[in-house]
């Protein structure tokens, strides 16, 4: 069988001592930068790009890929421990992961994230190996209309993310959409809401927004109430999940892997949706939806698996089409071109050693990550015992460096400060930042694809319904909407009844 011999060739490439070392360096670096708040994979890969000149093409790409999915692992560590998501995908992990940490279950949350990610990574790697070419065909079926409908579905899911008032979640989402509009209108070139500052011409920096809203706001809030941190450190019990918890995470991990693998393939925004979609699904399927937002293990297991599966399958459009699914992939393309490899549909046939070597290394890398991360959990959790007057200034400094390194832009630092204050105000008003973040990420994609679809259809809005994939997605959005509001209506009715009884 072709697949087996190809995989065998891949493993023989990936398991040479040199490549194993580069894979290890990659995942180690990735974990480290993922753990440091604010510094993302994009900045690190950009900084390391010149070094890859000197390496073999396979080794350099194995290392860069390792940084990328290593950062996905590391990113969830900060999200869980200090409520500081470095990537959009770990924003979801922060919701329940941080709550688990506050209840003394930081170790369990971290272990869940690591094990879920490993499982998802393994499965997704095999999916890449088996289905890469046919899956590419599906990705190409997604035009502007389909992306628009997908974003609608994603935004509706955002409402389900909220564990408080639906109205507040909607308000936050709309605020996110508005913030997403900052920048240049790509169709007319008109600047919008940039306050005349050229540095905002390309919009607000996502990392700045996320670090401010989640991290800085959380620090401000913690300075107000010192007791919560004491609770966190005093109550740390077990580090590893018990049998009951394993049972609770199995389903979410499986479903998350499925969702993540499918959405990861779509270039442009698909992978972002994966963890949000998984969270929504788990909350809907759970017998105890009220636990979500208060430390539900499924709320960590599902999104983390989805996020990691998506990270792996997002290599499919890169390797088979030469098309980047996200900024990190764009850098990988740059790395390939610098090495004299032209990324595109021919890479699989012309560079089989490279293609299968990278795929095999992903599995090896995932294994390394889980071996590396499980023993580290104890160490990370110890971080929580660091007194806040030491920890917080370090976090703030790392954030500032990380955010600045993305684009070397001082205005991004002003944005961190502003959104830190906004996040603090929001937490006082009991408004959650997650729907805002999703609105911010999806809003520009929604608008861009809506307008593109309308131009392509010459102003005919039925294009969203006559194209089957688009119509299916809109139907799914409608279904989610019904699912979200039905229990609400029902519970309100129950409330009325209970009050009447009393």
């Amino acid at each position: 069988m072709d697949l087996l011999s190809n995989l065998a060739m891949g493993f023989s490439v990936a398991s040479t001592p040199a490549n194993l070392v580069f894979c290890l360096i990659g995942v180690l670096l990735g974990t480290l930068i993922g753990v440091l708040p604010g510094i993302g994979a994009t900045a690190t890969i950009a900084m390391l790009l010149p070094i890859t000149f000197q390496l073999e093409p396979v080794s350099s790409l194995i290392m860069l890929a390792g940084i990328y999915y290593g950062a996905q692992y590391g990113g969830s560590t900060t999200a869980i421990l200090i409520n500081m998501p470095g990537e959009s995908s770990s924003a979801v992990t922060a919701i329940d992961g941080y709550q688990m940490a506050r209840r003394g279950r930081a170790g369990i949350a971290l272990a869940t994230a690591a094990l879920g990610s490993f499982f998802a990574g393994t499965v997704a790697t095999f999916l890449v190996a088996i289905f890469a070419p046919p899956l590419t065909v599906i990705a190409l079926k997604f035009g502007a209309a389909e992306y628009f409908s997908l974003m609608v579905l994603g935004l509706i899911m955002a409402v389900a993310l909220a564990h408080g008032s639906v109205i507040k979640a909607l308000a936050m989402m709309v605020l996110g959409l508005l913030l997403g509009m900052v920048g240049t209108d790509i169709y007319t070139g008109a600047p919008r809401f940039t306050l005349g500052i050229t540095a905002y011409a390309d919009g607000l920096n996502f990392v700045a927004l996320a670090v401010g809203l989640f991290g800085i706001a959380e620090i401000l809030r913690n300075l107000e109430v010192e007791q919560t941190r004491e609770v966190m450190t005093r109550n740390i019990q077990r580090l590893m999940p018990n049998r009951q918890e394993f049972r609770e995470m199995a389903g979410p991990v499986l479903r998350g892997t499925g969702i993540g693998s499918v959405l990861g393939i779509l270039p442009g925004g698909g992978a972002i949706l994966a963890s949000f979609a998984s969270y929504t699904m788990e909350k809907k399927l759970s017998k105890h939806p009220e636990e979500f937002g208060h430390g539900a293990i499924a709320g960590v297991a599902g999104p983390e698996s989805a996020n990691n599966a998506g990270a792996q399958t997002s290599f499919i459009p890169l390797l088979t089409l030469g098309i980047p699914a996200n900024p990190v992939m764009a850098l990988m393309i740059g790395a390939m071109i610098i090495q004299g490899i032209v990324p595109g549909p021919n890479v699989v046939s012309e560079q089989p050693m490279l293609f299968w070597g990278i795929i095999a290394s992903m599995w090896i890398g995932n294994l390394m990550l889980v071996v590396l991360n499980l023993p580290l959990i104890g160490l990370w959790v110890k971080l929580l015992t660091v007194p806040y007057y030491v920890l917080f200034p370090i976090i703030m400094a790392m954030c500032a460096i990380g955010v600045y390194s993305v684009d070397n832009n001082t205005f991004d630092l002003y944005a961190v400060a502003f959104f830190g204050l906004l996040g603090y105000v929001m937490s006082k008003l009991r408004c959650e930042p997650a729907p805002l973040l999703l609105g911010f990420v999806l809003g520009p994609l929604l608008e861009e694809n809506l307008r593109r679809a309308m131009i392509l259809s010459r102003g005919d809005p039925t294009t969203f319904l006559t194209r089957p994939i688009s119509a299916g997605l809109l139907l799914a959005a409608l279904a989610v909407l019904v699912l979200v509001f039905l229990p609400q209506i029902r519970s309100r009715r129950d409330e009325v009844f209970t009050e009447a009884d009393g």
């Binding site: 790009l49 098309i323 764009a330 850098l331 071109i337 131009i455």
Partner: protein, 320 residues
Amino acid sequence: MTPITRLMQGAALAVLMTGAAAAQDFPERAVTLVIPFAAGGSTDVVGRIVAEKMSAQLGQQVVVQNVGGAGGSLGAGQVARAEPDGYTILMGTVATHALNPLILTQKPYDPVADFAPVSLLVLVPNVLAVNPELGVDTVQELIDLAKSEPLAYASSGNGTPLHLSGELFKSMAGIDLTHIPYQGSGPALTDVLGNQVPIIFDNLPSASSHIAAGSLKALGVTTTERAASFPDVPTIAETLPGYETYTWNALFAPAGTPPEVVAALNEAATAAMADPDVQARMTEFSATIVASTPEDLAAHVQAEMEKWAPVVTDAQVRMD
């Protein structure tokens, strides 16, 4: 004259003198090459390859710094305002030194007055390509089809060289095509490969693998001569005489950089471009090496601005 202004003049003189002294043994420390686009793009690739070889020539590290944003204007503006000592230089393009200054209503810098040209490094052809399902094989067939039914073309964004290549094509062929801008080449290519949009104007390097694989059909390159990497692809000028556009990359220092420093940078850049390794990479990349003198680059910028001014006006491309 107040003591303060005298002091300032003295300080300015001192700065000038140390500047002149520094020029003798330039470079004494690392040189920063600002690339005004995100890492991974074609300008970034050219920049990093050149930076690596220039480091060897200068005996000092040439550090690449990506300052992306506003179509290259942020990075270019940063170099325009940098200390004119040769330690901060820019990888300029047709966008930063011809199109943006014409398109932007608020000009963040002057492409001529604010820069000391160093060297025009490479010319990169663009290509007009279609999805094979469109069923046209030549530029003429495309023009005929566009006259009978409405068509759309994709580009990497509003006001980019590729958008304006498309607009120039429209006006010279006397046809109308709907422009669909994307955020970069990648997403534009995806939609053309998936036949969501049938036509694309793209950089030849970015589209080349798809042309070679047959998933895109190249109708014509935008240069007056055929590209060495695709000798079978005709030029658009073979159908529309006089049609010529290309993307270019050139090094600029801030205006006021001492001529000796510019000469040292030019020498290092020219030597880097003569390196066989660089030549091989650039050929793979479908780029033509120029490695011009500073004077030729100055003339080139003038010529490009004159060429694009009417196209920008006709297409009514404007950005505030």
